[in-house]
């Protein structure tokens, strides 16, 4: 009996000693991430969660955006030249870049042109042996019209690659910063193909990036170790762990308990108490996004710009932003965020003015207003934390000028589908930038080419001419002027009521240094230190 008692006491003692809050080992950084990656191949992914775990930690691209910047800088391509006609890009590749050594693969050669060719051809060439592997949905590549834009990718020598386009495109270098253009190892791919397991290329990654994947337990944790041979120099932490924690409140509790060092996507309502906690640091940066209310310009009465202007005056923007974003948003004037080059500061927003709005409506032939639908998204998005509350505030504002608004919403997929078909009168939506070029906003959301599916269904020739030209001209100063003019026209024509640019908030423990918020919402732990 006595022996059992001692055993029981020993177990209890061990249990209690383990109960002490888990202290992070000196050089292990734990990031409380919000979900499981879909794959470890960024070519196949669309979610930021997957990009954080794959392209940012494991891979590199020819050109990259890093830290808090939005401009492209050299990555695996040390430099590049563009032909005079803007059609041919020649990339000079970095030498001596080592591929990761993992449990499944030991590289025999450093990174070279074959890897670039493999990575592009997998997405471009439908007959490529890897094209259909793992579903073969290259969504970003298709979104930027890759199949029609890129004519060929050729190897000039081991360290020179030539990419030819079908038409001049000034956004091409920015496009290449997209995670989908991560470079994968051709040697590893060949080995897997011979072994009959090509799909492992997408689940057991081998990259050139700052961290090497050690193991991944679905819905639980991803572990990385630093890449000692990383070409930018080894990371300052030894081990990186993504502790997958779906619930934002739980992530916060884990931060408080010291179980995580960094977390993203906090609940807006909890940010104030986070600021009060001296163990935590709240980092904020204006997000690279826009939330908007688009008018269906194909439908009456929204085809009349006076009506659109009147609504712009009837909505109390300051009030809406304050009530909905709870301090995490700044009122938007232009359709692009202020951190993006070519943002036109001189554009003046419409002022809240009910009387003037009524006058404009009367001039447009609606002295007593009209009836219309206003659609709100059923989900929380980075650019709009609460579309329902926003829609209700808008409904109340518009009632004051006689516009009777009926609120409409559908399940997210159906919502998007119906919006694309133009069933709405007015619709709430938004956009988070994928790469640091204004065309990512203008082209996708407001061009005539996108008018068949964009929320405003707006095609305005003088505006469109400017943005089409801006995509073809390679001189950035010239492009800036064109986009600045486009923003003036946009405001005058008012296809949208621009709502807000939300502020991205991320939390770190106070002993974390060197962490920077990315405008694109990615989470990069290279260069982060634990004090």
């Amino acid at each position: 009996m006595k022996r059992y008692l001692w055993q029981a006491l020993a177990v209890a003692g061990l249990t209690l000693s383990a109960i002490a809050p888990v202290q992070a080992q000196n050089k292990t950084l734990v990031y409380c991430s919000e979900g499981s990656p879909e794959t470890f191949n960024p070519q196949l992914a669309t979610s930021g969660t997957t990009f954080d775990a794959s392209s940012i930690a494991i891979y590199n691209r020819l050109v990259e955006v890093r830290g808090s910047k939005t401009e492209a800088e050299p990555g695996l391509a040390q430099s590049w030249t563009v032909s005079d006609d803007g059609l041919t890009y020649t990339f000079y590749l970095r030498r001596g870049v080592q591929w990761h050594t993992t449990r499944n693969f030991t590289p025999t050669r450093p990174f070279n042109a074959d890897d670039v060719l493999f990575s592009f051809k997998r997405m471009m060439d439908e007959k490529h042996p890897y094209h259909k592997v793992s579903g073969g949905n290259y969504i970003y590549f298709n979104e930027v019209d890759g199949p029609n834009l890129i004519k060929s990718v050729e190897k000039v020598d081991d360290y020179t690659v030539k990419i030819t386009l079908t038409k001049p495109d000034a956004t091409f270098i920015s496009i290449l910063t997209l995670h989908s253009f991560s470079i994968l190892s051709a040697e590893y791919a060949d080995k897997l193909l011979k072994a009959g397991t090509p799909e492992r290329l997408d689940t057991d990654p081998v990259g050139t990036g700052p961290f090497v994947l050690v193991n991944y337990q679905k819905d639980s944790a991803i572990r990385y170790t630093k890449n000692d041979k990383y070409w930018r120099g080894a990371a300052k932490i030894d081990t990186l762990v993504f502790a997958i924690t779906k619930d934002a409140s739980i992530r916060y509790q884990k931060m408080r308990a010291g179980e995580c060092h960094v977390m993203a996507y906090p609940n807006p309502a909890e940010i104030e108490s986070m600021k009060a906690d001296k163990n935590l640091r709240v980092l904020q940066q204006e997000g690279f996004n826009i939330g908007y209310l688009a008018f269906n310009t194909e439908k009456k009465p929204f085809n009349d710009k006076r009506v659109r202007q009147a609504i712009n005056m009837a909505l109390n923007k300051a009030n809406i932003v304050k009530a909905v974003y709870l301090g995490s948003g700044t009122p938007a004037t232009n359709p692009i965020p202020p951190t993006l080059w070519s943002y036109n500061k001189s554009v003046k927003d419409y002022q809240y003015n009910v009387n003037k709005a009524k006058e404009l409506l009367a001039a447009a032939g609606y002295p007593n207003g009209f009836e219309a639908t206003l659609w709100w998204m059923p989900v929380q998005r980075p650019y709009n934390p609460n579309a329902k509350a926003m829609a209700e505030l808008m409904q109340a504002d518009l009632a004051k000028v006689g516009i009777k608004v009926r609120l409409v919403s559908y399940e997210w997929g159906e919502y998007l589908d119906r919006l694309r078909k133009g069933e709405h009168d007015m619709g709430l939506l938004g956009w988070t930038g994928d790469y640091g070029d204004p065309d990512n906003f203008f082209g996708n959301l407001l061009s005539c080419a996108a008018a068949g599916s964009s929320t405003a269904r707006w095609c305005h020739k003088p505006f469109d001419d400017l943005i089409v030209k801006a995509r073809q001209v390679s001189n950035q100063a010239e492009r800036t002027k064109l986009y600045e003019q486009a923003q003036v026209i946009f405001k005058e024509e008012a296809p949208w009521f621009t709502i807000a640019h939300s502020i991205a908030t991320e939390i770190t423990r106070s002993n974390v240094t060197g962490y920077q918020i990315s405008p694109f919402g990615s989470h990069d732990f290279y260069g982060v230190e634990l004090k």
Binding site: L14, T28, N137, K218, I250, R256, A257, G413
Partner: protein, 336 residues
């Protein structure tokens, strides 16, 4: 007995077909599709969207899709996840042990504490301790798991600092999955510090999920005990001057336990359902989170497969219980 067994076994077949039909049609009834969910706000060439849907077979008439699905299921193939491209079955077996571990632990907690509490309440019927235990049990049964879970975290993890907030194992440990049951794997790999860490992580989710079975078992034990303790043979035992402990534990409890065991069996389904919520709160890597994620992403093969597998699991558990009853009670066996 063989006839009874075969009877019950054959009954499984229409049930199974019903479940496949139900999961297939319910999943398709939810608006949206996997490709649209993947695209979000981004617009790509509509032709590409159609092609992508066609590659997944989503352009076929529903009846054809169902036929293909059933044909696969019969061959033991539940398809691949649209999102991760991995076989549904292998993802399921990666995650299901975590759910079972949590559910078993919660059930154990419910039994170990529920039965004694029920006995105490029954023996002290009408007294303060009875009202106290039954009041607590009723509260426990009515607490929403997500709220109760968060409360537990705030008290035990944040204020007292006794337990970790969430997860299944502290990040400094890594145990190579052998069976998938972490506690067992820790023992098999002789990693005791990891074992204690795993136990540690199991405490709060067990409390959160185990409260409901605890409450139900305690209430069932109480009412059943009260009934049994009023039986003639108990009075006879008392009159014979038997030891009161013996009367309660041997003569009373043994008979009172029959309905309690039935209730425990019935709890399997609700425990798995509760595990879905508990797993989300405690970042527990079981099938709950997997199901919710696949619902968000409209990952049809995963949704269908997961629901079908869980339903089959519950069917098998019930089948075993049926057979056990048959063995114990001849009246059931002979259909009387």
């Amino acid at each position: 007995m063989l006839r009874f067994f075969l009877n019950r076994f054959l009954l499984l077949i229409p049930t199974f077909i019903g479940v496949t039909l139900l999961t297939f049609s319910m999943v398709r009834l939810i608006k949206g599709d996997p490709i649209t969910a993947m695209l979000g706000e981004r617009a790509v060439d509509p032709r590409w969207v159609e092609e992508a849907k066609a590659r997944l077979g989503l352009d076929q008439p529903l009846i054809v899709q169902y036929g293909i699905y059933i044909n696969q299921v019969v061959q033991g193939d539940l398809g691949n996840s649209i999102v991760t491209s991995k076989p549904v079955l292998s993802e399921f077996w990666d995650l299901f042990p975590a759910t079972i571990e949590l559910a078993l632990s919660a059930m154990l907690f419910g039994i170990v504490f529920g039965i004694p509490l029920g006995i105490i309440a029954a023996l002290r019927r009408g007294k303060v301790s009875d009202y106290l235990t039954m009041g607590t049990a009723l509260t426990g049964q009515s607490l929403p798991i997500f709220w109760w879970g968060l409360l537990l975290i705030l008290l035990f993890s944040i204020t007292l600092g006794w337990t970790p907030v969430s997860g299944r194992l502290s990040f400094e440990f890594y145990v190579e999955p052998i069976t998938g049951f972490l506690l067992l794997d820790c023992i098999l790999s002789n990693d005791w510090p990891a074992f204690y860490s795993a136990i540690h992580h199991l405490i709060l989710p067990t409390l959160a999920l185990g409260t409901i079975p605890l409450a139900i078992i305690a209430r069932m034990t109480r009412s059943s005990m009260i009934e049994v303790m009023g039986e003639d043979y108990i009075r006879t035992a008392k009159a014979k001057g038997l030891n009161p402990k013996r009367i309660v534990l041997i003569h009373g409890l043994r008979n009172a336990l029959i309905p309690v065991i039935t209730v425990i069996g019935l709890q399997t389904g609700s425990l798995l359902a509760g595990a879905v919520l508990t797993e989300t709160i405690f970042s527990w890597p079981g099938i709950g989170k997997w199901l919710i994620d696949s619902l968000d992403r409209r990952d049809y093969p995963v949704l269908q497969g997961a629901v079908l597998l869980v339903a089959s699991f519950i069917m098998i558990v019930n089948f075993i219980i049926d057979i056990l009853y048959g063995l114990i009670n001849p009246r059931i066996r002979h259909g009387r």
